[in-house]
Symmetry: C2
Subunit: 283 residues, 2 copies
């Protein structure tokens, strides 16, 4: 059993509690900080479901909680939100030797690294799928009804975590996901470092590859900004759409004209995503 | 006439435009950055009213726009939001010789400084009351229907700007304002530097003092968190309440149990404030 997390900060918001906590991660071999929003129903004693949120490159556990405006609707629906950090952190955790923001710190890509120097710490997949939910469900008395969503690198993470674990999540969505990381510069850089140069080892970390073998038909909602500067080079939602069509997988991919890659885009459509998750999470 | 501002960034949000712009301030003798949210009605050609937002200590023009979640309701109501910076900035602009965050950069207190070394740049009152509205109303085709609000130091600023300028604003509100700056450490430090040691010169910059002489009965909505760590030492809403009672001024002061001084508090109640302003601004 992990030791209990320690409270970093607590603020009341929309009748619920916005918390940051730190704990020692057994999986990542470092101290980690996470944020959780507990809706009023949780504070009143209900065991509420949770939406797990995975953020994008260079973010931490805080960006979504501060900028997406999700707590208003989560409070109404009675859904907790759990936001992890985007990589291991701290002394001894390696980062991009080239100083980039797209590898290493802030860029864990939600995979389990197999190559040095990454393999000891960079196991964000195990962390967000197993260790963190086990911890927060006990610590904050959450139910095991889980949804998962994320943005950009975190949209990729949400898709991969759900597609690899039938039955573990009841709902799935993504904003501007890196939909086909095997075939974009961000993904190729990260995967070659974390997973090695053999591209066969990359398939199990690529949503557009995984979709063809998905045994569970979890409906996916994806929003993508039409003015997103990364759309053509990095994100490739058309690969996800093609894979979903081939597999007969239910995907609602909404192109939103004029919207970019920022939290101003996420804030606009987060209510739709929360209601999408609530259909599966709130009984 | 000022030269036109230059665009720093633009993001679509809630069907409107979230913009940052820079311009040369004649009043402050430096480059300034401001943020503006233009609702969909403005983009469709309507001359919409604007809520002027003044932020608190150490903030910039960005905090409110990123964290308050105000754009959703402003888009519904057809109100623009204009957020200034909290002080002059840049090379040659003096700051706290002691390195504090409660004087100088990020801490202009929305006064016109009369003492050295502040008097040349620190004229945030003239900037937010006159120069910035003239600029943005022309640049963004806003109407001259103005509301004003703010947080903490900016709540003080909003109250002072409105109370000193009958007829200039149609609506007024504040979050956790520094209600009686003459009698709190933040205000005493700032005023003694910007205005000098003669406390008689401070009265015209103190909302609780100004309220007794207000010639206009503009209804004021104030929200104050009950768990705000600055409540007892710095904010003194009871002084504002007493002044309003003495003057017969319409003040709705809501103590919100459990809420702190953060944007998680502001986000919870910003919708109420926007609707309070809309009653006066939107016809």
């Amino acid at each position: 059993m992990s030791e209990r997390p320690t409270l970093v900060s607590s603020s009341k918001t929309f009748g619920g509690s916005q918390l940051r906590l730190r704990h020692r991660s057994q999986v990542l071999h470092c101290e980690m900080t996470y944020s959780v929003f507990l809706p009023p129903q949780s504070l009143a004693g209900a065991r509420v479901p949770a939406l797990y949120w995975l953020s994008g490159l260079s973010s931490t556990d805080e960006n979504f909680m501060q900028k997406a405006g999700a707590q208003r609707v989560a409070a109404e629906l009675g859904i907790a939100i759990v936001a992890s950090d985007t990589s291991p952190r701290g002394d001894g955790v390696p980062s991009d030797p080239g100083g980039g923001w797209d590898l290493g710190l802030g860029a864990g890509f939600y995979v389990n690294a197999t190559r040095e120097p990454w393999a000891r710490n960079y196991r964000m997949y195990d962390y967000v799928v197993d260790e963190l939910p086990a911890l927060v469900e006990e610590e904050h008395s959450l139910s095991d009804s889980r949804g998962i969503s994320g943005h950009s690198m975190g949209g990729h993470g949400a898709l991969v975590c759900a597609l690899r674990n039938p039955g573990r999540y009841r709902s799935l969505s993504a904003f501007s996901p890196i939909s086909n990381p095997m075939r974009c510069p961000w993904g190729e850089k990260a995967f070659s470092h974390y997973l090695g140069s053999d591209r066969k080892d990359w398939h199990e970390w690529d949503a557009s590859e995984l979709l063809s073998g998905a045994s569970e038909r979890l409906p996916i909602l994806v929003d993508q900004g039409g003015a997103d500067p990364f759309l053509e080079t990095q994100l490739h939602p058309e690969a996800l759409r093609a894979a979903a069509e081939r597999a007969g997988h239910p995907l609602t991919l909404r192109m939103q004209p004029g919207y970019d890659h920022s939290y101003f885009f996420i804030a606009t459509f987060i209510e739709d995503h929360l209601r999408h998750h609530a259909k599966a999470l709130v009984r």
